[in-house]
Each structure stands twice: as structure tokens, then as C-alpha cells.
């Protein structure tokens, strides 16, 4: 079974770069797949569209999901994932610049497993992302595959 990695859903290229840099520092960069908007994220996870060839072979260990995404918003992506039997147990971490209460509330309501604010200060940001990656990839036990029909 192919080791499951991290799916980063991030439209901002700079943030993507900084995030990948932070993950590289803790040697997790190779296991990161990046998609740039909500629709791509859904296609990737369900094996549809441009990712049809993947055939939904495997799911990542964790999805780092930004909220402000083009095409399909982060919260919508969250909703669709939670409504699908294949992805309803998939660990999803909301990683966003927002510190709006409203976003936090909606995210947890939508079934997010965690809500992490991207600090503006890069040092803090780098550390946050690094700890996130280590936690989800090393410490967290993935949910079992849903064997129900």
C-alpha cells in the first residue's frame, strides 16, 4: 500500500511555497500533493476530471484545506467530502489566514478535524506548519478504511 501523504489545497502560490519550505525542513515535502482550488481538490480525492486516471486509488493521510479558494470554496469542499462515504472520515485540517469566529464555527460544524490559523509572522508560520505535518503524518493514526458497502 502506497504511503499516504498530505494533500495541500492552497491557491496562494507564495503560501504554497512557504508551506512546502516549512514541511521540507521536517522532511515531509516529498509526501505533499498540491492542488490549487476546491474543484481540483475534489477531483483529486474522488478520482474525477483531470485526476480520473488516479481512480481514487488512495486517500491522503490528511488534507490541509484553505478556506478562501477559487471555484469551489473551502467550506463547500469540506461539505462535499463529508457527504461522501469515501471521504467522510478523511482527516481535514483547515489552514487559513482568517481568525474569524464565523469561519471557525462553520469549519467545525462542517466536520473539520482541526482549525489552524496561519500566523502572519513567518517564524511562527513555519513552526506551525512543521508541527502540523509531523503531527498528522507521524503521530496521528489514520481512520480505518470504511469497509461498509
Amino acid at each position: 500500500m502506497k504511503p499516504r501523504g498530505i494533500l495541500l489545497v492552497e491557491d496562494n502560490a507564495q503560501d504554497e511555497l512557504l508551506t512546502l519550505r516549512s514541511l521540507r525542513k521536517v522532511n515531509l515535502a516529498n509526501e505533499v500533493e498540491v492542488v490549487r482550488d476546491g474543484q481540483q481538490a475534489l477531483d483529486y480525492l474522488f478520482g474525477e476530471g483531470e485526476f480520473a486516471s488516479r481512480g481514487g486509488a488512495s486517500l491522503p493521510a490528511v488534507v490541509l484545506l484553505d478556506l478562501g479558494l477559487p471555484r469551489v470554496g473551502g467550506l463547500d469542499v469540506l461539505g462535499r467530502l463529508r457527504n461522501d462515504v469515501r471521504t467522510k472520515l478523511l482527516p481535514i485540517v483547515i489552514l487559513t489566514s482568517s481568525d474569524e469566529e464565523q469561519d471557525r464555527f462553520q469549519s467545525y460544524l462542517g466536520g473539520a478535524n482541526s482549525f489552524v490559523r496561519k500566523p502572519v509572522d513567518f517564524a511562527a508560520f513555519a513552526e506551525t506548519v512543521a508541527r502540523l505535518g509531523v503531527y498528522w503524518m507521524a503521530l496521528n493514526e489514520a481512520p480505518p478504511l470504511d469497509t461498509r458497502p
Binding site: N12, Q14, D15, L18, R21, L67, G68, T96, S97, S98, D99, E100, K118, P119, V120, D121, F122, A123, F125, A126
Partner: protein, 1029 residues
Amino acid sequence: MLTARLQLGTDFEQRPLLVLFLIPTILSSYVGGLGPGLVSTVITAGCVDYYLIPPLHHFRIQSPSDTVPWIALILNGVLVSVLSGALRRGRTPEEPLTDSPIASGAGIPPKVTATSLDFSLNRVERSMAALLMPVIACALQWAFWGHFRPFIWFLFYPAVFLSAWIGGLAGALPAAALASVMAVFCFLPPVLSFSKSDLSYLPSVVVFMSMGALFGQLHDRLARAKRETATSLETARHAHERIQAVHHELEGLYAKAREMDELKTQFFSNVSHELRTPLTLVLAPLARHLAGPILDSDLRADLELMDRNARVLLSHVNDLLDMAKLDAGRMGLHPSEVDLAELVRLEASRFASLAMERGTAFEVEAPGPLMAQVDAEKIRRILANLFGNAFKFTPPDGRISVTLSEEGDAACLEVRDSGPGVPEALREAVFDRFRQADGGAARSMGGTGLGLAIVKEFVQLHQGSVTLDGGPEGGARFRISLPLRAPAGVQVLPASEEASESLVPVLLEAPRVSMAVRREPISEDASRVLVVEDNPDMNAFLVSSLGRHYRVEAAFSGQEGLDRARTVMPDLILTDVMMPGLTGDQLLETLRRDSTFDDVPIILLTAKADDGLRLKMLRAGATDFLCKPFAVDELLARVDSLLAGRRRNQAALKSQGELLARMSRLAKVGGWSFEVATGQGEWTEEVARIHDLDPSGFASAAQGMSYFHGEHRAAIERAVQEAIEFGRPYDLELELVSAAGVEKWVRTQAQPILVDGKVVRLQGAIQDITKRKRAEEEIQRLNANLERTVEERTAELRAANSELEAFAYAVSHDLRAPLRAMSGFSRALVEDFGVDLPAEARTYLDQIMFGSQRMGELIDGLLMLSRSTRGDLQRQTVDLSALAEEARLELEQGDPGRRVVWRIEQGLRAQGDPRMLQAALRNLFGNAWKYSTHREQAEITFEAVDEEGMRQFMVSDNGVGFDMAHASKLFQPFQRLHRQDEFPGLGIGLATVQRIIHRHGGRIIGRSEPGRGAEFLFSLPKSPLGEST
């Protein structure tokens, strides 16, 4: 007396016979009564013993045969004395001894006669008298025994008979027993002994006793029968006396009645005579003047009026006089041989002109000659009365027919008219005196009611007959049957050709020409008087009397009066009571029911001084009375006074009315009223003005409602109907379209007026409220606009707010990412290539990092500021002291090394949003904490103070304070009064606090002097609109 008796006693004492001594004893007791009788008895007994009974001159009795008469003598004396005493008492009775109804009857003295011994003695005395008889018999028989021997019962039978007579059964039985004993003892041998050898005497004793009982019973019955007879006799006598008395009284009354009747007849006769004389003296000169040429037509009219009325009066007097004569029995019949047919034709011809004038068909069918022995004068009266009667009751264009025919030895006269006829029930009564078929004041025709009575009396004088029936073609038919020959014993006079006065009754059909009485020009504003009087002369008189001062309208019947009253609206009405058809009192009642005539005085003219009628009329609403005859001055005075009063009332009413009109015009309120029954009514000028109508127009409910349309019409109709049906008042605001087509809003109110629980009238007010209504509509419109504006503003605000939120959201998301990129890549440069970079480049990179960090803080501050008042204000009671403690705790935990003296007043509460207030307090405390950093002994205080008349909360410190010259910048965002290197900060805190306090409707000020700390006071009203706590 006693001496006389003693002498009497001595007179007889020498007599040899014992029996003679009985006589003085009896006499003594009879004359002297009980006492002297007993004395006499004793003396006699003594004398007898002394002188007559041997031994003589000695008071001893030797022989028992001498003792018997002696004892008998004494017994006799005692009994006689007792009886005499009783008799004497009976003669001088203080009260009757027997209680018979007669004796106790009023005024009849009890009779004491010789035969009344039974009644005057009581039972004991009668028994004693009865017992005396056998004793006397025994004594007499003893004395003359030689003559009677051997009949021992000889004297005892009569004795017992007498006893029975005196004492009845109760007397007879003891007497018979005593007699038996004495007879057996004294006369049956052996004498003076009861020891009898021969018992054959016993049957005789039994027979004797039976006889005694028989006598007693017989006498008892006899006595009772006598008593009963006497009682009956007395009763009869008494009754008879009463009848006599009543009879006497009746005779007195009858005499009195006859006397009264005579007096009445006399009175009528006298009065009539006394009246005739002056009437003649009035008529004669009048006739003379009327016969001559009269220049002035007014004078002629007056004279004719006088003449006519004098003749009416004369005919009434004649009627009364005839009646009086008939009553007095002094109406004699003076028949002569007359041609009846000619008489009828002649009398009928006198009515011809009247018939012409009235247009009545008057047909006379009297084929003559028809000779009859009649009293021509009386026949003419009969004819005149019958014709007059027919004319009176026949309408002007009616028909009257007269036929005379001969039927056997009688003449038959028939008078038929086409009038209303006489109801069957009254056909007998019309011949009664003073009787008229339709009696009372409503009678259609004048007259005294004597005419037909006279006809009947006169016909009966001729021994004829008169009948009344309906006739074949309706109306009345009088049939008179007169014998052709005069009644037997009446002297028939030769025909006479005397001229006779016209007997045509003066009917009250005076030509109306006479009404054209002098009229002086009367000013147009003179009061208008309506005269209602059926008598043309009286009417004309009233009109002329009043015409000098007032405008007078004349009406000749009640109905005409009513019509005229309604058309001319008089100021005063003068009406007769007795009128054909509608009478004066009915006219009065009709007018009083009409409110139009409420204040019109009505004077009633009445001939009857009848208090009951007056009371009835006054109750019905009569203003005043005038009794006929009346003085013209009095009439004028009353009319004048009533009219003056009415003018005063009207003036007062007018001024009141003008005031009311002005007021109602000012208030635009009109009053209205209408009758439920007719729908007619009245309204004030203002009502007409509201409807844009002519104020003088006629008012009606239907017209009033016709100005409402559509739903308003339906509403008013429903309200009016409910007011009428259920007596429910209403108060509506409706729109109408006036006569001029103007749309107006009115408030219309109504109050039902109830009479006997029924709504008879609606009264109400109507007010023009168009202005108010328009104002209300404008207000409503403005209100609606305002609401819309507010809604628009609110929507705009809401939109702005949401834009702001979107902006804040965008800021929090999108501004941070570039900042992070700046600081991130700077740091990456330093970390990855730091060793290769020149020192200067590192410094620049540090500045980039610092700038982006500062920028991030600013963005966070901005977000906090915008977030501080976002969302709804959750107003509730907040414990400020507790919030202050929390904020203090946070600060102390943030910098555990600092020591600050806190003074937080406990129990401070306010109304507000706890989240926002907590943020405010946190910022204020944070400020105080920050700016007191350099103080050795920092103090921070939170307390409530009363300032500017309101309760405020104050946060104060003893920090560096600030310069009041820059106070205006204090609450501006990003404005700072200290340099960043002195006290780091964004300048957002106080701006946030101010926004929160303002959001609560409160105010905040800050004051300070540099170096002496700062005070921040804020207020929190209980509600956004309230002043403060």
C-alpha cells in the same frame, strides 16, 4: 190606715159567723198589702178565738172541731196577705215582671189589667195563690157544711179549677193534693181523722186529682196561647206603625217632587216669557231698519247678523216655552176645519228659497183639498220642525220629498230625506227631549234637540202617531198619521185666516258675504291669528274683532282649521270646541302631536263652563280658555298677552339660536332630528351648509342619506336601521359627496328618542371633519413615507454593514497572506542565504520583517475595532464589577512582576452587552495599566460617580496622563498621544471603547493633566432611548 182597718176589724168582730171575719182580712190585705194583712189576720184570729170559739172570752180552744176553721182562717189570712203584697208590687212595677218582647218594646208601657194576674205574679206567688183556693173552699164548706152535706167535694172542684187558672199545672197539682187531704180529713167520716174505716172514697180522690191535673194542663196551654197571641199582635202593630211612617215620608217626597217639577215648569215658562219680550223688542226695530234703505253695507251686514241670531234665539225660546207648556199641561188643542194639503203646500213653500239656495231637491206632493179638524198652528209647527230637520241633515245637493195622502179617516204625512238617516237603535230616542242622534260635541247640526220632541207631543195632542224608519232609499223617513176628526169633546172652531209668522228655522247657513267685514290695513309683520269656528256669525265676529290688530285667517271647520294651520303657520290659534267633524279638542290634540306647533298658543272657545273639560283640554295642551259669552276686550287682552309672550320667547329663542348657529358654524357641527314614522324632520343651517344645500329647504332622513355612497351609504343605513330597531346610538366617521359635488368627511352621531319603549325619533349631530381627516391622512401618508425611508435607510445601513463585514473578512484573509509572504521570504533569505548576504542587506531584510510584523498588528487592531461592535447588541444586566475583576486578572497574569493597587467598587451593575462591555473594560484597564507602568506605586480605580446629574462609571489611574490640548484625538482610531517608543500601541483601544459605549447609547469622556493620571468616565443608559441611570 191601720187604725181604719183595726176599726173595720172591730166592726165585724161582733158578728157571729166565722166566715165574716174573712172579709175584713181580705180587705185589709188588699188595701194595705203584706204587713197590714198579716196584722189583720192575727187580730182576727185572736178575736175569733176570744169571742166565737167556746169557751167564749177565753183564748183556749177545747174542741178540735173548732180548731179546723180557726187554722183555716189563719192560713187564709196569711195567703191573702202574701198575695196582696205581690199584687201591690205588680201595680207599681219598677221593671216588668215578665220579659215579653212587647213589654220591652219601645214606648209601649206594660199593661197591668185585672186579667194580667198571670203576668204580674211570679211563679212562687202564683203557687201560693193556687194553694189559697182549697183553703178558702175548705173554710167555706166547713162553715156551711150543713147545706152541702153529704157532697164532700162540693166546693173543692171550683177551688182547684181556680187554682189551675191562677197557677197552671204547677198550681193545680199541689192545690188538688191539699184539697184531697183537707176533704178527706175534715169531711169524710170519721171527721177530723185520717183513720178511715171505709176505703171506697179512694176512687173519688183519684178522680179529683186527675181533674186537677187536667185543669192545670188546660190552663197552661191557654195561658201560652194567650201570650203568643199577644206577642203577634204587638209585632203586627209595630209593623203597621212603620209602614205608616214610610208612607207618610213618601207622600212628602212626592209632594216635593211635584213641587219641584212645577217650579221647573214655572221657571221655564217665566224665563221664556221674559226672554221673548226683549227679543221681540230687538226683532221689531231690526225688521224696521232692514225694511228701509240702509246706506252702509257694513251696517246692513251687522243688522242682518243681529236679526238672524235674534231669530235663532227666538225659535229656541219658543221650543222651550212649548215644552214648558206641555209639561204644565197647559197646552190646549184648538182645532178648526182646515185644508191640510194647503197647509202643507204653504209651509213647504217657505222652505223653497232655502232649497234653492242649497241646491236641495225639495218635492212636495200634497193633492188637496184634504179637510181635517186640526189645530193649524200646531200642524205648522210640526211641519216646520220636520222640514227644518230634513234640511238640517240633508247635504246641499240632496233630496227631500214630502207626501200627504188620505188613509181612511186619517191623513198620512211622509217626510223623506237623503241624509245620513238615523241608526235603528236611536229611532225611538230622537223623539226624546234634548236628544240628538249623534250627541256630544261632534254633532253635525246645531239645534236645541227639542224639535222632534215637540213634533211628537203635538201629534199626540191630536191623538195621532209619528214613526221614524229608514225609508226605501236611505236617509230618514218620518210618517205622521193624523185623525181627520178632532178628538171627542174638543170644540172645533171655525176656520180663521190669521196671518202667521214664518216658522222656517234659521239655519246656520248665513251667507259668507257677511264675512267681508271691515279690514283695516294690517302691517305684514303683524302676528297671524287663525280663527276656527263653524258658526259663520261667530267666526265673522271673531275675525272682525281680531282683524284690527292682527292678520286673521278664518276656517269654518276643524279640518279646514288643521289644513290652514299647516299652510299659514299662524302665531296663535283660536278654536271653538263644538264643531262638526273634527272638534276643537281633536284639532288641539292633532296639532299638539305635531312638533311644529309646539310653541303656538291655542285658545279654546267653549260654551260649557265645565272644569272637567277644561282640565282635559289643558292636559291635551290648550294654552287658554274663553267661555262664551266673552267680552271682546278680554279676548283681545288674552290674545295679545299670549302673542307677546310668544314674541318674547321667540326673541330669546332667536338670540339663543343665533348663538348656537355661530357656535355650530365655528365648530362645523349641525344638529338634526327626524321622525321615524314619517322620515321627515328638521336640521340646522349648519347641516345644510355641510351638505351645500339651501338652509330653508325641507329636511328628510332619506335626503340626508342620499349624499353617502358605496360602503359609507351601507354603513349609515345599517346604523340608522339599528338605531330604529334596537334603540342603539351610533357615532360614525363617513365620507359624503355634498350637493355641490364636494367630497367631505363627516362625523355623524345619533341618539334614538324612545316613547313607550319604541323609537319614535332620531336626533343627532353631524360635524364636518374634512380638515381633520385630511390632516390625518397626511399624517398617515407621512408616517408611511417615514417608515419607508427608515426601511430604506436601514437597508442601506445593513448593506453598508455587510460590505464592511465582507471588507473585514477580506482584510483578515487576504491582507495577511502578502504580509506573511513578505516576512516569510525575508526570513527564508536570511536563513538560507544569511551567511552570503552583506550586513547592510540583512539590516534591510530585518526592516522588511519588522514592517510586515507591524503591518500585521495594525491589521489585527483594525479587525478588532470593526469586530468590536459587530453583531446585535445583547442587552442584559451586567455585573461590571465582576467584568472588571476578570480584566484585572488577565492583566496581572500577563505581567506577574508588576504591582498595582486596584480599587474596584463592588456591586456595579448596568444594562448592556456583556461581550462588548468586557472588551471596553479590558481596553480601559489595559490603557491604565500601560500608562502607569513607570509609577512606583501604580493605582487603578473603577467606581461609580454622580456627575452632570447622571450616574457614570469611571476608570482612573495615576499614570502619565495626557495633554488636554490633544484630547480631541483621544478616541480617534490610530491616533496616539504618545510615541511608540514611549508606550507601544496601535491607537485602536480607546476608539474601540468609544464605539462600544456609543453603541449602548452612552457617552465617554477622558480628562487628564500630564503627569497626574487620567480619568475616563462613561455612562450606560438603561435603554438606548433613556437618559441614564
